[in-house]
């Protein structure tokens, strides 16, 4: 094994009596690409903060380059070469690439005056070191997220980074950009610089890392070589539960007509020539990377993004869906991707959130809102979807991600939709809740609902859909039955078309 750069030994930390970390040990070798994975609340962030010196551990020690630190301060961590790149990157959008790369260095040197040539030289040197070219005068806000990350990496390298910790670096970038980022990381590895990825996306973890450390409930589950892990074992280690997900079986009834049919639907810059059908009881997966047009297509079906041309048929008759209200009247529902902003009134009670779509049904004979009926409806849905809450009066923001998503689901199910478009229904939800939501979705399909499930997670669509459509750059490039394709094959299709 390579020489160790960082060793963490028996580190524990409690917040207000709750153990966030419990005797965790791990080590990172020089030049190693290491992944730290765990679900929300597993202690990942606490561990990073301890390594950065921002949080003091209750016990345990940290050994960097054979120097033992009992009380690591932020300044020690930085001077030993540990640089954390937070999820928001902490860049200045309004300043040039050169200045973003060099500014921290100048601040550290306690400069009073600015030498612009020096700023350029520093930035140029570091960019050429990682063999990438970005226009030094460009404002950072005009860069792609991948290039922004490069700027952040350069800034870290200037401060003599030996270990770069990247917090959820791949959440908002496309697969192509992940590959690009990876090429930079591999280059750093050659220079002996280690990288620690912190992530909860399983597929990319396996693609990137050499070693993986799994945390669960503040304890280390274990260290593994990445090649001895697969999706199922990793998700088992992370959740501690053996998730048995049965594949979705759909039996087509002969002669059944499509409830939704889309013909040659196009919208400039979003998608082109989209054709597909949805039959009752089907779950059709729509998979594609961020920016492939999948969400735009869904919005068009729900009347929120007017298409330029093409036709939409519902139950065989041509319709024009130009507002969400119209979509709802036609029996469509839409679960937005960003459930916190678009799907929930966070400060309102669960009860109010649940009934907001069906207020008309709750009126009494004086056309006033009946509290009795409101309670009855809300209670019914909380029971049906197993929403875990102490009371109906709790504010929606107090719920866990999985329960919040169920509230949003229930809210739309209450309208009795015939068709349901789910945009990334399980994003950011822990594995057990994910499974629960998948079961709800399958049950709905069994009851005859037609479902379109948008996702960028391969296992999610392969295991929960009967048909899969792959969307790349605005076109559906492949349509296949789920039983006819493996996760690996789907992965290849997605990554090969990305590289074009």
């Amino acid at each position: 094994m390579a020489e160790e750069f960082l060793k963490i030994q028996n580190v524990s930390k409690s917040y207000a009596g709750v153990r966030a970390l419990n005797k965790v040990s791990m080590s990172i070798g020089k030049g190693e690409i290491h992944c730290l994975v765990g679900e929300n609340g597993s202690g990942k962030s606490t561990l990073i903060k301890i390594v950065a010196g921002v949080v003091k551990p209750d016990e345990g020690e940290i050994i960097i380059n054979d120097k033992t630190f009992k009380h690591l301060r932020p300044i020690d961590s930085i001077s030993e070469g540990i640089q954390v790149i937070y999820q928001d990157l902490s860049l200045f959008p309004n300043l040039s690439v050169a200045e973003n790369i060099s500014l921290n260095q100048l601040i550290e040197e306690k400069k009073q005056l600015v030498n612009w040539k020096e700023i350029k030289d520093i930035a140029e040197k570091e960019l050429s070191n990682i063999k990438k070219e970005i226009d030094l005068n460009e404002r950072v806000e005009n860069l792609s997220i991948a290039n922004k990350q490069l700027v952040a990496i350069c800034r870290a390298l200037i401060q003599n980074a030996k270990l770069i910790i990247m917090d959820e670096p791949t959440t908002a970038i496309t697969k192509k950009e992940i590959d690009y980022l990876l090429s930079v990381i591999l280059d750093l590895k050659k220079r002996g610089i280690s990288t620690l990825f912190v992530s909860h996306k399983l597929s990319e973890v396996l693609q990137v890392a050499e070693r993986v450390t799994v945390l669960r409930d503040g304890k280390k589950v274990g260290d593994y070589n990445a090649d001895e892990l697969d999706y199922d074992t990793l998700s088992f280690y992370m959740s501690g539960k053996k998730i048995v997900s049965s594949a979705f079986s759909y039996e087509e009834k002969p002669g059944q007509k499509a409830m939704l049919e889309v013909k040659n639907l196009s919208k400039k810059d979003d998608f082109k020539n989209i054709n597909f059908q949805l039959k009752p009881g089907e779950i059709v997966g729509l998979i594609g990377p961020l920016g492939s047009g999948r969400t735009e297509l869904a919005l068009s079906l729900f009347g929120l993004n007017k298409p330029d041309s093409g036709e939409i048929y519902v139950d065989g008759s041509l319709v024009r869906i130009d507002s969400p209200q119209k979509a709802i009247n036609l029996g469509l529902s839409y679960l937005p991707e960003d459930r916190l902003n678009q799907g929930l009134f966070l400060r309102q009670s669960i009860q109010n959130n649940l009934v907001v779509t069906i207020l008309k049904k709750l009126l009494d004979r004086f056309k006033l809102l009946s509290y009795e009926r409101k309670y009855k409806y809300a209670k019914e849905w909380v029971d049906r979807l197993n929403i875990n809450t102490p009371s109906l009066e709790v504010a929606a923001q107090a719920l866990s991600g999985g329960n919040q998503q169920r509230v949003v689901l229930a809210k739309w199910l209450a309208t009795n939709p015939k068709m349901f478009i789910l945009d990334s229904p399980t994003v950011g939800i822990d594995i057990a809740s994910k499974n629960n939501i998948h079961n709800v979705i399958k049950q709905l399909a069994k009851e005859g609902m037609g479902i379109i499930m948008i996702s960028d997670e391969i296992p999610e669509v392969v295991r929960n859909c009967n048909r899969i459509m792959v969307m790349i750059d605005g076109s559906i490039v492949k349509e296949v039955k789920a039983v006819d394709i493996t996760e690996d094959e789907l992965f290849d299709i997605l990554s090969s078309s990305q590289k074009r």
Partner: protein, 336 residues
Amino acid sequence: MMTNNKNFQIQRIFAQNESYLLLIIIAYSIFVTFLNPSFLSLGNLFNLSKSSASMGVLAIGVFVVLLSGGIDISFTAIAISGQYIAVNVLIASGVDNIFFAFLISCLVGVGLGAINGLLVSYFKIPTLIVTLGTLNVFHGLLLTVVGTKAVNSAQLPDCFKAFGATNVFTLTGPDGVSYGLSIFTVIFIAVALLTWFILKYTMLGRGIYAIGGDAEAAERAGLNVARIKFFIYCYVGILAGIAGVIHVSLIRYSNPTYLVGTELSVIAPVVLGGTRITGGVGTVIGTILGVAMITLLNNSLILIGLSSFWQEFFTGLIVAISVSFSSYQSRRGIAI
């Protein structure tokens, strides 16, 4: 690679708001000259630069605050406080010296600015609320404690009048009328140069840009955000103090109810000059062009023969249009 870079730079110059504004100013000047040939005389231009100097100095201050992502609307109250107190102290003490007037006015300015700075940087109150409050507090205090009586030209110490008449050089036109470049203009240029230098070549200045871009990132990068903010509001105070003295020297009349209420006409040129209202983006040259444009507009309305009440209308319109324009650009992802 090099030529590539050059091309980029040329493109960038054309993509900038400032170049558009300059073109508009030139086109508009030609238009006005057609209607009234006396517009483009050197004498009129010197006059314009003299009468707009006080607004220009204030605008530079507002520009710096906007750049940091904040806003200051109490600067008019600070300017009039500095001016009115300076005038009264000079009268009471009998010291008839313009430097003394500047000293007092700037001290008042920096003191009041420091109050804004403290509230903004240490108590982290939103800048609009702070300065909306202090605008009224400062002005209310001035009127109740110092007084409400205007000082007319006859009572005004001579140094103001002499200062107002000072030209750096004087030319005599063919018609025998002499005109010159006022010292006001020189002060405005000096303030602009100083501000440009601070913003471009000091870490303090880069810090102001950084805070305007992302205050939290600035904090993480190790910048002393509270101290920089404190500086900004004190700086605005000093500039307001300077502008106050220029203002009284120009109109030879000190009325404590003047200036307050004209905040928008100072914010307008800054926004017009391409400074982003959300902070982080803007240049001194843009602000100067903005001041030039607004001055030009106000002046030409009279030359064209429109009532001066239209000024208010156009000022408001310009703010609305330029803010919508830059928001539209940023929404479409166009680099400005």
